[in-house]
Structure formats: structure tokens, C-alpha cells
Symmetry: C2
Subunit: 293 residues, 2 copies
């Protein structure tokens, strides 16, 4: 941000903590809140946050920007608790993997003008302040979802916030975002979790796997607190995505069973065209998923 | 290897090419064969192979060690073609992801004494000579499968071959190997392929994915020629593994549909214990999957 008043980061986990680190490193004044007092102390000691925000959240009155960086099932209640104190903020945003509910929630609290939903695609399987690090957002896409009430000021501020930490903001519709992320992120998470469960049950240690199997089970180490909330909130799109995948796996099952190399070849050809596509046209996603704001 | 006669590598793809590079780098005399003449020329020009083996394979008469590094559906026929020329070899081995058929095939050709089945867990989604590189096997587990006929000399040579390139040979029963790899490797490959197909069909570009989604779709770029042959040959164990996974995904589907956080929590707890296990006991797989030879 072109620096002005303090930026309050509520939740100092992987995403919130990393954002706080990057903002502090470029000279912004960052205030922090986390239910985990040890995380707050650590963030204070390392000089990342200049002030610990008390549980009553009254300090938010003096924040110019407020970022909710908590699981998606905690964010609405936290926004409600904060709502009386954030009327003067130029921007209120979040970082959750689902966007419909929080955008609607901000509107219901009459905070729509200053609210922009954000989703940085920068997470990994680690969680908590200890996993946070500088540079996490470098080059990462951030989906920005506005509501009809969102002011130009808030919108500009949201873009500036993410650009300040090296990310690439892309405007996206909240409902479309949630439907797309069910396929692009929530489905891969479920597959990894299912695979890890099968391997655990079968007594095959993770070290037994090659690099491919390792890649496929990394997400299984992710936080249940975060993911359970996402599956809960985005259940319908997630079920759509999972059903599509179960159908695809059923077709592959048939091909293996019947030694049908032609069907396998078609599946690989489709997959190769899709992976090659990225190489040929690295910015294809910008025009498919949304437009640059 | 403590160097003696020439080592013939049949197939100069990712695995064969990388093995040839490492052996040549440590001073072994490596001869090479590949159906792709350009790969052979390139391997010659780069000084990795000292001699190109002709299609008639008669040169194998003078090889001390013969390594089959071709897809698993090509290896048996190649071994048969080579069989009259390799009677004096101290070791004949392969690198395939399935072991029952090739070990049996060597016995049928009365090559059992000098044959040891090898499976280095070092592949990735790339293929061909151009993907080959030095150091690919450093620290990688290599499953070694002997037959009742395998001589002590061949066994010692097989261990020495893989140790020479930095790998970690572990004895394994061929049938158990194939059943285990169906879960540890062939199943992850099918899941990645199925996921890529769904995302392609849905029009979601790979660049749209976060790091987790990228991890989950990397294997989809693997070679059909290699994988089609593996699924064909190991169909029954692969179907067992896939059915176990479809059941696990069905259970997760029910949990998402019914907002059953308890079932999700249990799934994450199981997955976390399994991934943590690796950290706590990095050598656990050595005692589970097989014993050090």
C-alpha cells in the first residue's frame, strides 16, 4: 500500500502472518490479532506487528485497512464483532477460499462499500504463524470479488494491497469463484485426503512413495479446521466437482478392467493438451477465469 | 559398479538415460540401445555411451551387465530377442514398475540365474533422453526382486549397480511389490489423470490452480506408453487399489453432503498421523515393505 494508517490483520496464520510480514517489511504499520496468544507474542517480538489488538477489537477504530485471515466459518462472526469498530476503514477484506458468504455477510452488516473479498492462491499444506514467511504472495493470483456496494476507493485499495506484496489481483464474480474453486482447489484436497487414508489403511508408509505419490499426498497434511469449514460452506459445488471426478475415475476403472488402451490414450491426450496449454499460453487463466481489474 | 566389462543399457529414456549418465560419469564403459536413433546419437555425442548397440543386439555378447529400460510391455519381447546373446552376462536386470511378469519371463528363458528385477522409485512425469539427468537416483529406493534361480553373483552385482549411482536397494517379493505399487504409485497416477481430465473438461486452466492443485496434476503429464503398459499388466492390483480409493472418496462425499465434520476430522486425523509418521520415523518403510538385502 502507499502507506497511510495502520493495517489490522486478524488471524496470524500462514496467510495472515505472511501478509503481515510482507507489509511490515515494506514499512507499513501492522497491527495484529490472533486467538493464539503465543502467535501474537511471537509476531510482536519479531517486530512484524507494532501492536497487539485486544479481544474487544476496539483498536480497529483507528485502522485504515482490516484483513480477516481466519477460517471461513469464523470470518462472518468475527466481521460481525468488528462491525461497529470498522466504519471508518477504507478497506475491509478477507483471504478465504470461499467468497459468496463473506461478501453477502459484509453487505448484511452494511459494510458493503468498504468490503472486497480476496482469495490469494498462495496457501499450502502448512498452517499457523510458524509456517508464515515473507514472499509467499510473489506472483500469486489473488481473486478479488466485489459487491454492488463496493466503493471505488475500497476497490483501488484492495488492488494496491495485494500488488504491494507482489501478488496479481484478478477480478472475479463470487459465485463463479466458489464454483470454480470447488474444482480447482477443493476437489484436489479431497482426492489427496482420500488417497492418504487408503495408503494409511493399507500400511504403506509415505516414504515408500516416489516423487509423484509424494506430490499427491502433500495436501492431506492440511488443516482440518480450515478445510472442514470450506467443505461445509461450499458443499454443493464441491459435490458437483467430486461427482464429476468419480465419473471420470469410473471411466478409467473400466478402461483398466477391459484393457482398453484406446480410452487410456484419449485420457492421456486430453491431460497432455491441458498441461501443455499452460506452457504455450501462461496467461490463459486470466482471460478464462476473470478479467484483470 | 566396481568396474569390469561394459554395461549395456537398452532404452535411453528418463531412467535408462539417467543411469547411463551416472555410470559413465564414474568411469564405467556404457553401451546404449534405443529405438529412437536421435537419442542414441545424442547419447554418443555427449560421451555418455561409448558404443551404439545395433538392432540385432549381438553386441550384448560382450556385455557384463544388461539393463532393460523400456516400457513393461516391451521388456519381455526385448529380453527374448536378447536371450541368445546374454548367456555370459553376470547380471541382467530391468527398471520396470511391475516385477512379476519380467521375473517369470527371465525364468522361462532360462536366464533366471543372472536376472534380478529392479524398480528404482525415481521416475517423474517427464520422459525420454532429453529428460534424463545425472543424480536422478541419489537416495532413491530401488526394489530388487529375485527369483529362486537368481545367483549370488547376480544379486551382489545388482546391489552394487544401484549403490554405485547413489540409490538404496531393498529386497522385495515380486508379487507383493506389484500389489503394493498399485497403491503407492499406480493409483496416484490414475487420480492425477482423472483430475486433469475433469479440469480440462471444465475449462479450468492449470495456471489457475494453487500449488496444491499443481502438485495433484503433475503426474497427468506422464507418458501414456509407459503407463498404459503398467495398467494393462497390473490390472487386478490396480483395480483393488482404485476400488479402495473410490470407497474412501464415497465416504468423504457423504461427509460433505451431510456436513458431517466428525467424519472429516477423523479422515484428517488419520492422514496427519500417516504424514507425521514419516517425519518421526524416516526409515519406517524399510521394515514394512521389505528388508535390506
Amino acid at each position: 500500500m502507499t502507506s497511510r494508517g495502520p493495517i489490522a490483520v486478524l488471524g496470524l496464520g500462514l496467510i495472515g502472518g505472511s501478509l503481515a510480514r510482507d507489509l511490515a517489511a515494506r514499512g507499513d504499520t501492522v497491527w495484529g490479532f490472533d486467538a493464539d496468544r503465543a502467535a501474537v507474542r511471537s509476531a510482536r517480538r519479531s517486530g512484524v506487528i507494532a501492536r497487539a489488538i485486544d479481544h474487544d477489537l476496539t483498536a480497529l477504530r483507528d485502522a485504515q485497512v482490516v484483513v480477516l485471515a481466519v477460517p471461513v466459518d469464523v470470518a462472518p462472526a468475527l466481521l460481525q464483532r468488528a462491525s461497529t469498530h470498522v466504519r471508518d476503514a477504507a478497506l475491509i477484506t478477507d483471504v478465504g477460499s470461499t467468497k459468496r458468504r463473506i461478501v453477502q455477510c459484509a453487505a448484511d452488516l452494511t459494510l458493503g462499500a468498504s468490503f472486497v473479498g480476496s482469495h490469494p492462491l498462495a496457501g499450502d499444506h502448512r498452517a499457523g504463524w510458524r509456517a508464515s514467511r515473507t514472499g509467499l504472495f510473489t506472483g500469486a493470483r489473488v481473486d478479488l470479488c466485489r459487491s454492488p456496494q463496493t466503493s471505488d476507493t475500497a476497490w483501488r485499495r484492495a488492488r494496491a494491497l495485494w500488488r504491494a506484496v507482489g501478488a496479481r489481483p484478478v477480478e472475479h464474480d463470487a459465485a463463479r469463484h466458489d464454483a470454480e474453486l470447488a474444482f480447482a482447489s477443493h476437489l484436489p484436497q479431497l482426492l489427496s485426503l482420500g488417497l492418504a487414508g487408503v495408503l494409511a489403511h493399507r500400511g504403506i508408509a509415505r516414504k515408500r512413495l516416489g516423487t509423484g505419490g509424494r506430490d499427491m499426498t502433500r495436501l492431506a497434511a492440511s488443516s482440518e479446521k480450515m478445510w472442514g469449514a470450506i467443505f461445509d460452506e461450499n458443499a454443493e459445488p464441491v459435490l458437483d466437482a467430486l461427482d464429476a471426478c468419480l465419473a471420470a475415475l469410473g471411466a478409467l476403472r473400466g478402461a483398466v478392467q477391459h484393457h482398453d488402451r484406446e480410452t487410456l490414450r484419449t485420457a492421456f491426450t486430453t491431460a497432455h493438451a491441458w498441461t501443455d496449454d499452460e506452457t504455450r499460453n501462461p496467461d490463459a487463466h486470466q482471460t478464462r477465469g476473470g478479467r484483470a481489474p
